[in-house]
Point group: C2
Chain length 184, copies 2
DNA sequence: TAGTTTGTTTAGAACGTTTTAAACGATGTG
DNA sequence: CACATCGTTTAAAACGTTCTAAACAAACTA
């Protein structure tokens, strides 16, 4: 691979690195994915080590994590004993699936915590007027939190049921062939 | 504040801690906010130190960060020389504003990186057939990325213009008074 | 079977982030 | 003015995470 091509890739890799930091994600996984994605062909572990200048152990661990996510798959290359990996190119489906399951998971967790806190609160027998007042405020706040959480959930469900899929062009018969969008 | 009330709060605080880790956020800020929010009254720095068992320096830095975000405000308490802070309780507006600006920022960053990478790619003069092929694939991938990014942007704009505000009950005259949502 | 090549595991190093304690500065008080 | 009470800053420690090099295991080759 030419040095110039590598540089053009590195621009994207640098930004991905930044974004990962902001979202608390593992950047090696993201970079492996991007390299495979832009390359458009399968690569061996050694090739990835060479390309990203990281240790083989790290590549091994992270490429398998990507495989578990369904982001890459192992492919057989005739005449080589090495493991080759190629990318799942339907990137929008991949992103959407991950975002969806993430939102769902977090919403459930939050709801669970609110409910647990609420139960604990309701089991308290207030000893004086001040405590009764504290409990009242606490209750109001939990109800408010619950309301926000419910709205977010409703929004997500609406989104999930049809709007999102149409807007992003997934699962519709019409949009089966990829219409190209030119840059500039 | 009674031990039982503190325990009921701590349930929520624990979950917030987990969520912060998953999103790469600062958990002290989140915990300060939650404590002030559930308490429903202003607190001094010392009270927060006592409540969360963290150093005063940490409270000082993080409460001011919250203030910059517009999440809390300093209030004057008669007869005390201490700084008291109270929470901005319109939590849904707060969350939405932050999510919105975050999405917008990230989308712009991604677009910028794609464009830069694309420009670098287009300035390359391929020396052989193989390199020409690499560039072609690379170009296709960048176009694909751009398409996803465009769709996400379109979705966000649609969302932002009306749908989100209606669904979440913001900025509408009707929903001005808070309708309570009961838990269980 | 002995020797290679390959992928995986792991103990410790390197790294960045967060937290704290102590120093500091500013402001009020007797 | 001397002292006390705050909030802020900062240097160093504590912490968790990520990365690497080396050991290891498994599969192939001669």
């Amino acid at each position: 691979m030419s040095e110039e091509l590598e540089k053009a890739q590195d621009i994207l890799l640098g930004k991905v690195n930044q974004l990962c930091a902001k979202f608390g994600l593992n950047n090696v996984m993201a970079q492996l994915y991007i390299v495979l994605y832009l390359q458009g062909k399968s690569m061996s572990l050694d090739a990835m080590v060479e390309r990203l200048k990281i240790s083989k152990g790290s590549v091994s661990v992270n490429i398998r994590a990507l495989e578990r996510y369904g982001a890459v798959r192992k492919v057989w290359v005739k005449g080589s004993r090495k493991d080759f990996y190629e990318v799942e190119t339907d990137i929008s489906r991949l992103i959407i699936e991950r975002v969806k399951s993430m939102i769902q998971g977090r919403l459930s967790e939050v709801k669970e915590a609110i409910d647990a806190s609420h139960r604990a609160l309701n089991s308290i027998k207030p000893v004086d007027k001040e405590e009764r007042e504290s409990i009242k405020v606490f209750n109001e706040r939990l109800n408010q939190l619950n309301k926000v959480q419910n709205k977010a959930r409703g929004l997500f469900n609406l989104f999930n049921s049809s709007f999102l899929n149409k807007a992003i062009g997934l699962k519709t018969k019409r949009n089966n062939k990829e219409e190209m969008v030119e840059i500039h």
